[in-house]
Amino acid sequence: MIASIQGLGWVTAAGHGQGHDSRSVQLTAGELPRLRGAQVFPEGHPRFGRLDTFSRIGVGAIAFAMADAGLANWQEKRRTGIVAATEHGCLQTDADYYDTVIPNDGECASPNLFAYTLPNCFLGEAALQFGLAGPTYVLNHRPEDELAGLRAAIQELHWEGLDGILAGVVNADGPCLDPQPRRLPPGAIFLYLSPADREGAYGTLSLAADGTCRHNGQIVRRWQTLLDTALAMRHANQDNDR
């Protein structure tokens, strides 16, 4: 199975952005930037400021990837899916929500926080923002297999005959998460993948029957490696065009 990488967006401790205007992205430890709605949606977004951190970085990275792929604007809903991998999901939001339940046995529970205690809810935000009407779900996998979510997304793209799919990873930060074991630092990264009949600015991903994932023929097992090689290809092409 082959997929073209059309767009790349991220929010990490090192900053936020999209592939066409940045030559590197670093998945580094540190505090995540507190994105404002205007940084993600120039025309504004009515709920962005109320989103929890998990949702904010997830929606932000998806928005950047969609813009990078030139697909931010739409007229009709698209059969595009989203598969987001996470290690601890919205655990910090869960803790923040339950802290509003404890006083007075739930009398002051926060409806806004509760809505985001399902880790897939931010996918609904992204879906309505960009008209994405394909399958959407969050998944967990063994942490050492960093690209398991990406493989699942490539399979969904082909098995479900989708126009495209956003494949990514989202991990929030926060005091409840700090003691938890984690493989990846906090941050969100999304790739927009399309079937291989469209040329991808960032090259192609192939998935072998044994699960081996290759980017432009080279085996990749880690997100950072994939990001580095994808961005290198994108900017080599841009430089050649000049």
Partner: protein, 379 residues
């Protein structure tokens, strides 16, 4: 595509262990909804839920593992190389509750999907490095079953075990209460006077296999999973799309995968939470797909509550019995069907004609999913 068989299943609901007690309870028109004992409900809209009574005595943080341990007991050996998919919305959320209340260190492993996978691996004796946990709100296990079916259909697996469970917790109860989604007098799916949902807890395991493994298993492999589909409403984060667009798309996709038209569907196991908007949306989708046809339809949630991420797997297991007995059980809690539900949903059992059974679920985040089941001899 390779044919996909539903080879084996196990369920635990508030009626007890196994499908037979659930089936008998439904046919008797009984509800397993009782007053909640495990946390105070003074400040909530409701005071009842469909709880598994023995879980009340389990220490905080251990309910989900006890539930899976019991579910796995007697399930039987799995085919070599069985892959694992799990589904839960909040897993062992009681551990987080305990940690926040006591302010002490606590093992939060089972509150995330990886911990849930590890529990399932432990109790079913699996070691699958490719195991995934899917979270798609109240359609989580429906999507996991759909993915498992796709894996078999496309030759990526020979057998897939789907394990799903969710608990009645103060965490979720308070949330649905503050969103004003809970009914204070029981769930009445598709009733004219429905006023909200009732929460439930439960677990289910479903073994999907290809044809050779289905034929060699001890069980009678008579039910096939013919089609599956999923779509997002792209409309609202917590409310269903009033035009049913996502559910309609999911059903159409399931029919397309099965290479069938809507005429092949003989009955429907609906999501049917009992909220005003969910049930109205489902009826809109049913009318869009089936027109004026009055198919026998059913919702289980008036009897066992809304079991969240486990709902799809429990309802699939129930669908096996519906197809085997050619019976659609009563919709417990239904008294006076709303006009569009008349002739479809009933408070009594209805015969299920020859053809397929459609099972659907929808959830927060705009998620919709549909499964199409059929008896081998009808295929």
């Amino acid at each position: 595509m390779n044919p996909v068989y539903v080879t084996r299943s196990a369920v635990i609901t508030s009626f007890g262990d196994g499908l037979s007690v659930l089936w008998d309870g439904l046919l008797a028109g009984r509800s397993a909804v009782t007053p909640v004992r495990r946390f105070p409900t003074t400040h909530y809209l409701a005071s009842e839920a469909a709880c598994i009574d023995w879980l009340d005595a389990v220490p905080p943080g251990h309910a989900i593992e006890r539930l899976l341990d019991r579910l796995a007991t007697g399930f039987g050996p799995l085919p070599t190389g069985t892959r694992l998919l799990t589904a839960t919305t909040k897993g062992g959320i009681d551990a987080l509750q305990d940690q926040r209340r006591r302010g002490a260190d606590a093992d939060l492993d089972t509150t995330n999907g990886n911990g849930f996978i590890r529990l399932a691996e432990r109790y079913w004796g699996l070691d699958d490095p490719t195991a995934l946990n899917l979270n798609a709100a109240c359609a989580s296990s429906t999507l996991a079953i759909a993915r498992g079916a796709a894996m078999i259909a496309h030759g990526a697996a020979d057998a897939v075990l789907v394990v799903a469970a969710d608990l009645v917790s103060e965490f979720v109860f308070s949330g649905f209460s503050v969103l004003r989604a809970l009914s204070s007098n029981g769930a009445h799916p598709f009733d004219r006077d429905r006023a909200g949902l009732v929460l439930g807890e439960g677990a289910a395991a479903v073994l999907l296999t290809n044809r050779p493994l289905a034929k060699t298993a001890d069980d009678t492999p008579s039910i096939r999973l013919l089609g599956w589909g999923s779509a997002n409403d792209a409309n609202h984060v917590t409310a269903p799309a009033r035009d049913g667009c996502g559910l309609i798309a999911a059903i159409r996709r399931a029919l397309a995968v099965a290479d069938r038209t809507s005429e092949a569907v003989a009955g429907i196991s609906a999501h049917g939470t009992g909220t005003v908007y969910n049930d109205a949306m489902e009826l809109t989708a049913i009318e869009a797909i089936f027109g004026d046809r009055r198919l026998p339809c059913h919702s289980v949630k008036g009897a066992i509550g809304h079991t969240l991420g486990a709902a799809g797997a429990i309802e699939l297991a129930l669908g096996l019995r519906m197809l085997t007995t050619r019976t659609v059980p009563p919709t417990v809690g239904l008294s006076t069907p709303e006009p569009r539900a008349e002739g479809r949903f009933a408070a009594v059992a209805q015969p299920l004609g020859e053809g397929c059974l459609l099972s659907t679920n929808s959830g927060f985040g705009g998620v919709n999913a549909a499964l199409l089941l059929g008896r081998e001899e009808d295929v």
